[in-house]
């Protein structure tokens, strides 16, 4: 035992544990005598049990436990003392093979075996905690041998909670110890545990989905093992080939997924993705995400062998059988939920390997010949909640800046260069050095009709409103602050550029060469086009009717123009789809409906297109932001769509009075919304409280409440868009005169509640016009910053 006698750590131990340190007068020699005495007593009973025929009685066991407790106390005293004294008790414990004897006896105690097992676990745990240089204990046969036997005996056993707790704690300790001393790992692969078996890991697997502290500790320990596997082939092959951890984790995901609510009761029109608050209020979702994040961590630290297995099982055991069907079912409400889940999952994982499996599943996997991504794209059409969450999903997908996804969505079609006139192809890489595109974009700004000032009494009150709110706007508004748009554009272009650093192709019309990327019109492609066209047409008209409940369709309304123009797309949808791809085509088509879309849908939509416009790959950039490139007639370019929108907006606003007033209100609404969101982000738990006086009665959350009807049937109040209620407070608190104005109502109640349908239609168009204007600035800023960030290389001299 000289490793203990001469241990330098002993000295350092002296300083430890001042509060619980043993009394100084405690005599080591007396302690040792006492220790031996207690063991003697315990041993007598054990021998009696072993020799006898009746088995152990409760008194016997109690007596053994009492003696063992005393021995542990003495051991702790000795180990904590840490002086020059001999480690007499520990030496005795090891030299007498006390641990072996305990183990043997516990197997004979029948009913009481768990009690002794618990005692043993405590002894090991205590030794590992208090022994100096605990790792050297592992090299002691009298310590390791019974430990391994004890652990092996625990496999496939069900234990009461107290033993589970001790067991996992001990396993966790061992894993920490091994992580610091990986050279001792081989000691745990012995004949006694079965060939190639790593008993610590086998014991952890059943606890991996456990909630609470035990589960947490088990997962921690397992991650340590996973990390160890990276450098230890034996361990890696054990985990991958012999343990069932990968299928357990993957099917665990499936199990937890099935417990998630299938329907969300979404009251807010604005809701499009799960916020952290939403997740907190859905315990099932929190639990699922913890498990998913654990898988993410495993893939991150484990040996490639384990990693590959893990990914394989996530794919075949979770994504294909569970997530796929959830995304392809027919119940719209459930589709909304599963789409939002998928979006959340993509946001929650970070490990490239795991991301790849998810993305591959979305892009490549077929269900009856139909790919997940095709289905998702087709849902971009329409005005429903499903469309909102789908746009949000694509926003996240594109935000990953994964070349494969962008290739599938966009570049697969654009690399053919069939969207550009042949003569224009060499201009794809041209930079717009003199800001013409930005100029053109800003020139599309909506023209405000300045004529027709009415003098009615209502407008005079409106006049005071306008002066007051413009005052407020001046303090908080972002409107017209072009510098802010430029800064945001610069940051987003730089981030996108960096994130595309590992891309294989440049997508500049030359790499990959146009010929290499011919996409032939497949039947499924055509069907998809057809279907989406029908869907979008249906939703255009239904959306239109929802605005006019009296079904008085005024044919002279400019809103109708998009309906009448729709059939022209209808006749040639597949050509446009083959040329620029269904994704871009549907987005731009959706954009054409901007005047009838809700403001929230428009915010999502414009946000997604802006995200696309931050990519600097010339093929995409030229399609979105080059004003002078000549495209094939069948191709919708962003400039075309914006131009026609401007015309319709101008025409519509020209037909109405008081538009200026409404524009101001709409701006106020957007500014308040923006501020509320910013505040909510800054103080997630006390939104806007510091800025605005808190409402006295605690305005109830008007946002989304989610009813987990399929599972528990009880409705849950959620704060999904608590932002909106804060918004209400904000508008009431900061701009009190506004409260009387019905106009601001649509910020909280939604315009549908407004009785005068026509008025609400006008308001929606006005909101759209303001949004349109701001978006033009955003796009112009992107165009400018693209030129500024482009490292132009001048042509070589002649």
């Amino acid at each position: 035992m000289n490793w203990l006698r001469n241990s330098p750590i002993r000295v350092s131990l002296r300083g430890r544990g001042t509060t619980s340190s043993p009394p100084k007068e405690c005599d080591p020699a007396a302690c040792f005598d006492s220790f031996k005495h207690h063991w003697q007593q315990a041993q007598n009973i054990i021998n009696k049990i072993q020799g006898g025929t009746e088995g152990a009685t409760q008194d016997d066991i109690l007596s053994v436990v009492n003696n063992l407790d005393q021995m542990q106390t003495l051991l702790v005293l000795e180990l904590k003392r840490g002086g020059r004294e001999e480690r007499a008790c520990l030496d005795f414990l090891l030299s007498q093979s006390i641990l072996d004897q305990l183990l043997t006896s516990s197997s004979l105690t029948g009913l009481y075996s768990n009690i002794l097992r618990l005692e043993q676990l405590k002894v090991y745990e205590m030794l590992l905690t208090h022994a100096p240089q605990q790792q050297l204990l592992l090299t002691q046969e009298p310590f390791l041998r019974p430990l391994l036997r004890l652990l092996t005996s625990c496999i496939n056993e069900c234990f009461p909670a107290d033993i589970e707790k001790r067991l996992i704690l001990l396993l966790n300790q061992l894993c920490v110890c091994l992580t610091h001393n990986p050279e001792y790992l081989d000691l745990f692969f012995t004949e006694s545990t079965g060939p190639g078996r790593f008993v610590i890991f086998s014991l952890l697997v059943p606890y991996v989905h456990r909630e609470g502290g035990v589960g947490h500790q088990a997962r921690d320990a397992m991650l340590l093992c996973m990390g160890l596997s990276k450098k230890n082939e034996a361990l890696a092959s054990y985990i991958a080939d012999k343990s069932n951890v990968c299928p357990v984790l993957a099917t665990g995901l499936s199990g937890l997924y099935s417990r998630l609510p299938r329907k969300l009761l979404i009251e807010s029109e604005e809701w499009h993705c799960f916020t952290p608050d939403d997740v907190i209020e859905l315990p099932e979702l929190t639990h699922f995400l913890a498990s998913l994040e654990f898988c993410n961590a495993v893939v991150q630290v484990a040996h490639p062998l384990v990693q590959a297995q893990m990914l394989e099982f996530v794919h075949h055991g979770f994504l294909v059988p569970v997530v796929g069907p959830a995304l392809l079912q027919n119940m719209v409400e459930e589709l909304v939920t599963s789409t939002a889940y998928l979006e959340l999952f993509l946001r929650s994982i970070s490990e490239p390997g795991l991301l790849k499996v998810f993305l591959r599943f979305i892009v490549v996997d077929h269900y009856d010949g139909e790919r997940v991504i095709d289905k998702l794209i087709s849902r971009l059409a329409g005005k429903t909640q499903l469309c909102m969450v789908t746009i949000s999903l694509f926003n996240t997908l594109i935000g990953l800046h994964c070349e494969d996804v962008m290739l599938e969505l966009v570049f697969k079609y654009l690399t053919c260069c069939s969207h550009v006139m042949l003569s224009q192809r060499k201009r794809i890489k041209d930079m717009d050095v003199y800001c013409r595109s930005a100029e053109r974009l800003l020139a599309l700004s909506v023209a405000v009709p300045r004529r027709r000032k009415t003098n009615s009494s209502s407008s005079s009150s409106g006049g005071s409103l306008s002066s007051q709110s413009s005052q407020s706007l001046r303090h908080v508004s972002l409107h017209g602050d072009f510098g802010a748009y430029l800064a945001t554009a610069r940051a987003s272009i730089a981030a996108t550029w960096l994130a595309c650093g590992a891309w294989t192709h440049a997508y500049d019309g030359e790499s990959p060469p146009p010929r290499a990327a011919l996409v032939l019109p497949t039947d499924s492609n055509r069907n998809l086009a057809q279907k989406a066209t029908e869907e979008s047409l249906a939703s255009v008209s239904s959306g239109y009717h929802s605005l006019q409940p009296d079904s008085e369709v005024r044919e002279d309304s400019p809103l109708v123009t998009n309906r009448s123009s729709a059939p022209s797309f209808h006749s040639t949808p597949d050509i446009a789809w083959i040329v620029s791809g269904p994704f871009l085509d549907l987005l731009l088509r959706q954009l054409e409906n901007m005047m009838t879309n809700s403001v929230y849908l428009n915010l999502q939509l414009t946000g997604l297109i802006s995200r696309l416009a931050a990519f600097s790959q010339p093929l995409l950039l030229s399609l979105l932001l080059n004003h002078s490139l000549v495209f094939q007639p069948s191709v919708r370019s962003l400039f075309q769509v914006l131009g026609s929108l401007k015309q319709r907006l101008d025409a519509y606003l020209n037909m109405h009075d008081n538009v200026e007033e409404l524009l101001l209100e709409a701006r106020l609404f957007l500014v308040c919304r923006e501020e509320t969101l910013a505040n909510a982000k800054r103080h997630p738990h006390e939104p806007a409280a510091s800025t605005y006086a808190p409402s006295t009665n605690g305005t109830s959350r008007r946002g989304t409440s989610i009813a987990d009807s399929s599972f528990k049937g009880e409705a849950k109040r959620l704060s999904i868009s608590s932002a909106l209620s804060v918004l209400k407070r904000a508008t009431q608190g900061a701009f009190s005169p506004v409260r009387e104005q019905p106009a601001i109502e649509y910020s909280v109640n939604g315009f549908r509640l407004a009785k005068r349908a026509e008025n609400s239609e006008l308001k929606n168009v006005v909101l759209c016009a303001v949004l349109f204007d701001e978006w033009l600035k955003e796009l112009a800023a992107l165009a400018l910053e693209h030129v500024a960030s482009h490292q132009a290389v001048p042509p070589p001299e002649k």
Partner: protein, 290 residues
């Protein structure tokens, strides 16, 4: 697929540039960041400083309203000049360094180190003055601050840029070409259509005397190299004798920056010879660092 990174726009190094004229190599090493980091983004007076995106809401703002694009004029000028400056950087014209003034994007400070020809060894300062309605207001002017006896430079210091760019064609001409033209005019003397008749005549009639005059300009330029800045613009290029205490660490930083390799990050599983998603064979599972 190597591509150039987006410009990092910093304003730090440009203002206290100060170095020894003795060893040109060293000098250029220090001058390098001028080229790299000088920014013209912030220099526009009409620009409401670039805001911190985190504080978007806190900023005050002008009147709301839907406006014409004319108010964006200064932005367009500035953003038309940024690519011009980027192109100049891309050219790396030997011996010439330019940085836009801090107070206006329409003035660029320049300095040229002449490496051969009659003016070899000279360090001459010049300003590039860009017309307000660039790219439409004609050719930028080049004004030398150093006294120069040169057929194409007037006694007042105005460079005869019209000799090279009789008419400014914005689709063909760029500022880097102006700078390159200036550089070349010191290598091979062009006495045609002079703005300094005396210099042109002397170049043709008395070559040796001309060479002596050129030498005088060179030594004068070296004498005056540490002259104090005539302007309070922080981007004005000024020099200081090399002092290892002040400059050595900076120089090391510059050299170490050169060697730092670009780490490629991002998600891609597209094989190099393919245009199919996830075409990289399974063995190369992960391409991502971090």
């Amino acid at each position: 697929m190597p591509r150039s990174p987006p410009k990092r726009l910093a304003h730090s190094l440009a203002m206290d540039s100060s170095f020894s004229p003795i060893e040109e190599e060293e000098l250029e090493a220090v001058a390098e960041p001028l080229k790299r980091q000088g920014s013209i983004r912030k220099v526009l007076p009409a620009t409401p400083g670039v805001p911190d995106p985190a504080k978007l809401v806190e900023r005050t703002n002008s009147l709301p309203g839907i406006r014409s694009t004319s108010q964006y004029g200064p932005y367009f000028t500035e953003y038309s000049l940024i690519p011009e400056y980027n192109m100049l950087q891309g050219c790396a014209i030997p011996g010439v360094y330019c940085v836009p003034a801090a107070n206006t994007p329409l003035m660029w400070f320049g300095v040229i180190f002449v490496r051969q020809g009659p003016y070899v060894g000279g360090v001459f300062r010049f300003n590039i003055v860009i017309p307000e309605n660039f790219p439409d207001g004609g050719c930028p002017k080049v004004e030398f601050q150093s006294k120069l006896f040169h057929p194409q430079i007037s006694p007042e210091g105005d460079f005869n840029i019209g000799r090279g760019f009789s008419e400014w064609n914005k689709n063909m001409h760029h500022i880097w070409q102006v700078v390159d033209y200036v550089r070349k005019s010191f290598l091979k003397i062009d006495p045609g259509q002079p703005v300094n008749e005396e210099a042109a005549k002397m170049y043709k009639m008395n070559h040796e005397k001309f060479m002596a005059e050129a030498k005088k300009c060179v030594s004068l330029s070296i004498q005056r190299i540490y002259d104090l800045s005539p302007t309070d613009d922080p981007h004005y290029i000024s020099f200081e004798p090399f002092d290892s205490k002040t400059h050595e660490s900076l120089r090391e930083k510059i050299y170490s920056q050169e060697s730092s390799s670009e780490d490629s990050r991002g998600l891609s599983w597209v094989a190099s010879n393919s245009t199919k998603p996830f075409s990289v064979p399974i063995s190369g599972v992960i391409q991502n660092s971090s």
